[in-house]
């Protein structure tokens, strides 16, 4: 397995294991996530993809009995050190969920939520952030005339782009996406994928996906997870054309999962 390194490493995992009480969910995973690249995590259901992704901004913290071993160095600090400010970490590592989950608030208030949490009150500033974030999420032209309509009134694909805009509004350095298109139709999925390619010009993107074509289309690096173990991690083209491990070959060719 090549140790992916280079440019700017945003996240470095060294022998990370995650337990839910007695359950050993992630088993000694070591890998790097690079800036301005899309890293896909693939694997069958129950392989620990989401657990691994959610450990990167500590969204697993509330699960009773959750325990992490090893070193997860994210943006220069070990995020499971006791001194880490989880709130600050989550501002720098944004997240988009599987099911679009805009708040039952207006489009504007959805995007302004993060900046307002940080104390931003100036209407001029907020207006600017809202326009910039919606533009980055390729949603501005569709909603600019109805910013005060409810976010729930949008279509599923638009809702997911609204959630992306909401995450971008706090200027994260890493964007975690947990199967961001699995609840969407093919046209909406294509828009999200185009958007991911644009987003990687500015930040590191980590995407968990069930859809192998999607991983092949958008990602630069792919990690294959099986039973909590990192089976193979390499340049995406290599994973999909010449995998080293037999299990990877079985999975991507549809003989497993």
């Amino acid at each position: 397995m090549v140790a992916v390194q280079g440019k700017d490493t945003k996240i470095m995992l060294r022998d990370v294991s995650i337990y839910y009480s007695a359950l050993h969910v992630i088993k000694g995973v070591s890998m790097n996530f690079l800036d301005k690249e899309i890293t896909a995590i693939i694997g069958p259901s129950g392989s620990g993809k989401s657990t691994l992704l959610r450990s990167l901004n500590r969204m697993n913290d509330h699960i009773a009995g959750m325990r992490v071993e090893g070193e997860a160095n994210i943006l220069g600090s070990n995020v499971y050190a006791p001194s880490v400010d989880v709130v600050a970490l989550r501002r720098r590592v944004g997240m988009v969920f599987q099911k679009p989950n805009p708040f039952p608030k207006s489009i504007y208030d959805n995007v302004a939520y993060g900046p307002r949490l940080q104390g931003q009150k100036s209407k001029v500033e907020l207006d600017g952030i809202v326009e910039r974030s919606l533009t980055q999420a390729a949603l501005w032209h569709e909603v600019k005339d109805r910013l005060h309509a409810s976010g729930l009134a949008l279509s599923g694909g638009q809702q997911q782009r609204l959630c992306i805009a909401r995450a971008l509004a706090v200027d994260p350095e890493v964007l975690l996406m947990d199967e961001p298109a699995s609840a969407l139709d093919p046209a909406a999925t294509a828009k999200i994928e185009d958007l991911m390619l644009k987003l990687k010009e500015h930040l590191a993107v980590v995407v968990v996906t069930h859809n192998m074509q999607q991983a092949a289309r958008v990602s630069d690096f792919t990690a294959f997870l099986l039973g909590g173990e990192l089976v193979e991690f390499d340049i995406t083209r290599k994973i999909f054309t010449a995998p080293t491990d037999k299990r990877t070959d079985d999975y991507i060719s549809g003989r497993m999962g």
């Binding site: 989550r90 989950n101 708040f103 939520y113 995450a167």
Partner: protein, 284 residues
């Protein structure tokens, strides 16, 4: 249709029919009064002289009293009820929540005459002392006791509304760097506001209809109240205190039925608002 389903449908229609019959009965019993004395002054005036010659019937003072007592109960009860619901739904560990919830449920089962006693013995003297009043039997005291009596309704329905907020909203908020308080105040409570609103209207319906406690504590004065610290008689207490003495089928008897009809329409409207809030929320 299988017979079980038919039976259930029938029971549903029976409830509707009974409600409709109550309304028809009230209208029918009110009619002799409305025909003779029906006018706008009935609602606005505050002279109630049912056995004088000629009798005068004006329920403005009773309506205002009902409004004051209900208002006091809601203004005091709602903040406590909503805060209690927030702690049950979001803050307390599940084990502790269960204990508090059972306490609220027990409160719901206390007969209102017992609340009346507590009001007479504790609340009324305290209110008299605190505000330096000649008597503690006032609309404010009654509202204060009612604010406790509506807590079970407020707390359990608000808690239900808070728990129904999708977990995904809270997750999105945490993922944006919000802490627990920010998530509760900025996302969870606003998302539950429809259900909390319905809880407030249902509690209001309960407060307007409460009879025994207000009969015992509100003071019973017939005149239009000029302050929340006046003794007063809400419309429920008016009916309860006079219906046994009114000669059957006298004009006073029918006037009390008319008061009852008005009370019925007010509570029906309040509950209908609560129901439409709930239905509207589900439709979205």
């Amino acid at each position: 249709m299988p017979y079980q389903q038919r039976l259930v449908t029938l029971a549903g229609y029976a409830v509707l029919l009974i409600t409709a019959l109550i309304f028809v009965f009230l209208v029918q019993q009110s009619w002799p009064f409305v025909r003779e004395h029906g006018s706008l002054v009935f609602f606005t005036g505050d002279r109630w002289l049912p056995v004088s010659l000629p009798p005068v019937f004006q329920i403005g003072g009773f309506l205002v009293s009902s409004g004051i007592i209900t208002g006091v109960a809601i203004i005091i009860g709602v903040p406590f009820g909503v805060l209690a619901a927030i702690s049950l739904a979001e803050l307390l560990p599940p084990g502790v929540s269960v204990i508090f919830r059972s306490i609220f449920e027990v409160t719901a089962g206390i007969p209102s005459v017992v609340f009346g006693f507590l009001g007479l013995k504790i609340v009324a003297p305290a209110v008299a002392g605190l505000f330096n009043l000649p008597t503690g039997l006032t609309g404010f005291s009654a509202g204060l006791v009612l604010s406790i009596m509506i807590l079970p309704t407020l707390v359990s329905l608000s808690e239900e509304a808070l728990r129904a907020v999708p977990r995904e909203y809270a997750e999105a908020s945490y993922a944006l760097g919000a802490n627990r308080w920010q998530t509760i105040w900025r996302v969870i409570v606003p998302s539950a506001r429809g259900g909390i609103g319905a809880a407030v209207f249902l509690a209001m319906g309960r407060a307007i209809g409460e009879t025994m406690t207000v009969l015992m504590i509100a003071g019973g004065r017939l005149a239009m109240p000029t302050s929340i610290f006046d003794p007063m008689r809400p419309i429920t207490a008016l009916i309860a205190s006079e219906v046994n003495n009114a000669a059957r089928n006298s004009i006073q008897y029918h006037a009390l039925f008319t008061a009852g009809l008005i009370l019925f329409m007010i509570t029906f409207a309040v509950n209908a608002i609560a129901a439409s809030v709930i239905v509207g929320k589900k439709a979205r």
